[in-house]
């Protein structure tokens, strides 16, 4: 038997845009076990909820993560509205769902690019990120920012998006479809990519359930679970929503699921834009509206990376007592460690990327 050595991976590593540290216990080129160490991005953001007004905290919640920033604002705002007993107009719900799906498109494109980078396909990486700019342009036109949108607030949306702009968004998404189809074709059918992805990082359906994995990572292991199918927000008004699953259970399956989810997200946006009602976008709750003492509320949202759980508890003042967020990546870390057992060192970057880790969400 070969001698065991420990290979430190990260926190600063070319393949990782974000810091996570893994001690890879290797025998020759073979990883026996991976021991993750996190905490490099921990800020202690949840604690800030006690020092900020519940209206102000939306902007802090958005800064949990720069990729799914809209989703975190959405989750926090929905949970707080539930706590305060506020009903928001349907148009605001629709707009939130539209922005959530736009975030999914840009997040998945970003991820596809990073995956291409991990196996050294630089041109594909650049093409994915070029396409992603279209979505960022939409954000910039409608909200002013590329990353932090600050369009969601407790009680609705900060401003309305006119119907013409929404129609323009659909057109833009249609225009990237052609380029996107080519990227997907390369991603899923190129023989060199297939040989890097197929059979790598296998997680069986049973393991995925045992490790309570969520999001595309779980759906690639044939688990039919997507929070959107429970019909929260505007998703309940969709004609039909079927989670995209794959039974490949490996890196290729995860890539396939995410590729298909972009098409699905574009279809959802178009359907919502066609159905959007006109009943205003809501307004900020007045200064007299305070969260009830010991009242609590929780909300589940399907982020690009999977199910995220938001919990808020009030204490009768304008500051909330507790804000808790359970992110998809923290759920999936168990699966990552499992997937890293008995693989080659060369496959480690791919496997880490296929869970689509978002460390700044996880550590907050």
């Amino acid at each position: 038997m070969a001698r065991q050595t420990i290979l430190p991976f990260g926190p600063q590593h070319p393949v990782l845009p974000e810091p996570i540290h893994l001690d890879l216990i290797v025998e020759d080129e073979h990883v026996v076990e991976a021991v993750p160490q996190i905490g490099f991005v921990h800020r202690g953001l949840e604690k800030l909820v006690q020092t900020r007004d519940y209206n102000q905290f939306v902007y802090i919640a958005e800064r949990v993560c720069g990729i799914c920033s809209f989703g975190h604002g959405y989750g926090y705002a929905s949970a707080t509205e539930q706590l305060l007993g506020i009903e928001i107009p349907r148009r605001a719900e629709y707009l939130r769902a539209i922005f959530e799906e736009l975030s999914r498109v840009h997040s998945h494109l970003l991820w596809l690019g990073l995956l291409a980078d991990a196996f050294g396909f630089e041109a594909l990486f650049n093409h994915c990120w070029r396409l992603r700019e279209t979505v960022l342009d939409i954000f910039q036109e409608t909200c002013g920012g590329r990353i932090i949108l600050s369009i969601v607030m407790v009680g609705g949306m900060n401003h309305d998006i006119p119907d013409e702009t929404l129609a323009g968004i659909c057109q833009k998404l249609d225009s990237i479809k052609r380029d996107y189809r080519e990227i997907v074709n390369t991603m899923l059918n190129d023989s060199s990519i297939k040989s890097r992805l197929c059979g790598v990082g296998y997680i069986s359906r049973e393991d995925a359930i045992d490790l309570s994995m969520v999001g595309p990572f779980a759906r690639a292991s044939n688990i039919h679970y997507d929070v959107r199918s429970t019909g929260f927000g505007a998703y309940g008004d969709l004609d039909e929503f079927v989670p995209i699953v794959s039974d490949e259970c490996d890196c290729y399956g995860r890539c396939k699921v995410r590729c298909a989810e972009v098409y699905q997200a574009i279809d959802i946006i178009k359907e919502l834009v066609a159905k959007i009602p006109h009943d205003g976008v809501g307004k900020k709750p007045g200064p007299k509206v305070l969260p009830p003492e010991n009242g609590q509320a929780h909300v589940l949202i399907e982020q690009p990376r999977g199910e995220a759980y938001y919990y808020v508890r009030g204490n009768g003042t304008k500051n909330l007592e507790r804000f808790r967020l359970r992110t998809p990546t923290s759920q999936n870390l168990g699966g990552l460690v499992k997937a890293l057992e008995n693989v080659d060192v060369a496959d480690v970057p791919m496997i880490i990327l296929t869970i689509d880790p978002c460390i700044s969400c996880t550590e907050r």
Partner: protein
């Protein structure tokens, strides 16, 4: 113009940012903004890098990592703090785990504000950093020592001066550069 300013190499480390600035740093290297047209290459090896882009604030866990990367870079080197969190701690400066801006750990040459910082600003800062790199290279060639900004000399030094800041020996005033 020295060789390093013709083609400076970048290294990027994400302190405790929300990922937004982080993605924008990567974005500035992508086809739309394409910082690589200035001869710039993104590297993962601190020893090859001339410009150190740090995003996000410094916390108790990553302060050692940031210093380690900085110490491994060879002179001349320039540090660019990208985004408001890297400059001062930003919205997270009240968090219990956040020590403050990057200048709490290492000397910073350029501060780029923004939440999230825009790719145009990053490109602007990197090009200005190249000038600083040039100056430093000239000084080194003339046999002079490079004066460094003192670590921790920032806005909130007065607010929380007792933070555990380790100043590397060679950055202390009067210290001699090792041959």
């Amino acid at each position: 113009m020295g060789y390093s300013s013709k083609s400076p190499w970048l290294i990027h480390y994400d302190g405790s940012s929300c990922n937004g600035c982080d993605i924008e740093v990567l974005d500035s290297m992508m086809p739309l903004y394409d910082i690589e047209r200035f001869g710039i290459i993104n590297t993962g090896n601190p020893k090859h890098a001339d410009i150190f882009l740090v995003t996000g604030s410094i916390n108790h866990q990553n302060v050692k990592v940031v210093r380690e990367i900085y110490d491994q870079m060879t002179e001349p080197k320039v540090v660019v703090a990208c985004g408001i969190c890297a400059c001062t701690g930003g919205v997270f400066r009240d968090c219990y785990n956040v020590l403050g801006g990057v200048d709490k750990a290492i000397p910073v040459d350029m501060y780029v504000p923004g939440c999230a910082v825009r790719p145009e600003n990053i490109i602007d800062a990197v090009l200005k950093a190249v000038d600083i790199l040039d100056e430093k290279a000239k000084k080194l060639a003339a046999g002079e020592t490079i004066e460094k900004r003192e670590v921790g000399a920032s806005l909130h030094e007065a607010v929380d001066g007792e933070l555990p800041v380790r100043q590397p020996e060679h950055t202390k005033p009067g210290a001699k550069r090792e041959a």
